[in-house]
């Protein structure tokens, strides 16, 4: 690369001591950034969640030893908590998708609008999850 002084710790003996130009550390944590991270985390989490739900469905579908091994995912308190969290992750990630849909069309891109959408994702995800489980317990 270049021969002039670089701040690369591998090639420059003083590189590690030189200050880095600040990037992440100068950011005030913003709602949009948090929700961007949350979208990735819920996306990756749902990948694992789908594997767990597959095990539950295999248990129910096959019965016998399979149900003995995986049935707890649906029938126990821990399993119930996991499914509750999975439904929240679906809602949160889904609303993140709606946010992308609106932004793709240039809507709510002003400072107030984008922050409101990000907060809407957070509040909406929790709200829809709670409403669904209340409705389900009333219906069932």
């Amino acid at each position: 690369m270049d021969s002039s002084g670089s701040a690369n710790a591998d090639s420059d003996p003083h590189g590690a001591q030189r200050p880095l130009s600040p990037h992440l550390s100068v950011y005030r944590p913003m709602m949009t950034m948090m929700m961007s991270i949350a979208h990735r985390i819920t996306g990756a989490g749902l990948y694992v969640a789908m594997a767990l739900l597959t095990l539950l469905f295999i248990g129910v579908g096959m019965g016998g030893a399979f149900y003995a091994a995986f049935g707890w995912l649906g029938s126990s308190a821990i399993g119930g908590l996991l499914v509750f969290l999975i439904t929240w992750a679906i809602y949160h990630h889904l609303l993140g998708g709606v946010r992308h849909f609106l932004w793709d069309r240039g809507l709510y891109m002003d400072p107030k609008g984008r922050e409101a959408l990000a907060i809407g994702t957070l509040v909406g995800g929790v709200g829809l999850t709670v409403l669904t489980w209340i409705a389900k317990s009333l219906a069932g």
């Binding site: 990948y47 789908m50 594997a51 597959t54 129910v60 029938s75 999975i86 889904l94 669904t132």
Partner: protein, 131 residues
């Protein structure tokens, strides 16, 4: 239009925007298109999932073994895992830089996503099958 310049940056080759898989906008479009199907399917899936908690095996079969819930969940699982495979590819490209490891991770993702989608479908067909 291009602007001639005599400035030499001292760098060669392609820049940072080119080190990924060169499919950024295709990827974005793919995630958007699959998400249009996943949004309605996801709402229904949440409803069915919230309904199976605390039930016995027979209870779960009665709840989601009917054709509409079973087919809805199958569609959610298959489209969801196609979408998730693309999404996880992107996550791997962002964080795994060692070429050999990256290759392994991408390959593992292809097969894991396929396996989950296939077993998900099979299991729901077993649940819905008359017995």
């Amino acid at each position: 239009m291009s602007t001639p310049t005599h400035f030499k940056s001292g760098r060669e080759g392609r820049g940072a925007a080119f080190v990924a898989d060169h499919h950024g906008s295709e990827h974005a479009r793919f995630m958007r298109l699959t998400s249009y199907a996943l949004a309605p399917l996801g709402i229904l899936a949440v409803w069915y999932l919230a309904g199976v908690v605390g039930l016995s095996a027979d209870g779960v079969r009665a709840a989601i073994g009917r054709p509409f819930p079973a087919l809805t969940l199958i569609a959610f699982g298959v489209i969801g895992m196609i979408h998730a495979r693309e999404g996880m590819n992107e996550i791997i490209l962002d964080y795994v830089h060692d070429p050999a490891l990256k290759d392994k991770a991408l390959r593992a993702n292809q097969w894991a996503a396929r396996a989950i989608a296939a077993l998900w479908t099979l299991a729901l067909m077993l649940i819905a099958a008359p017995r």
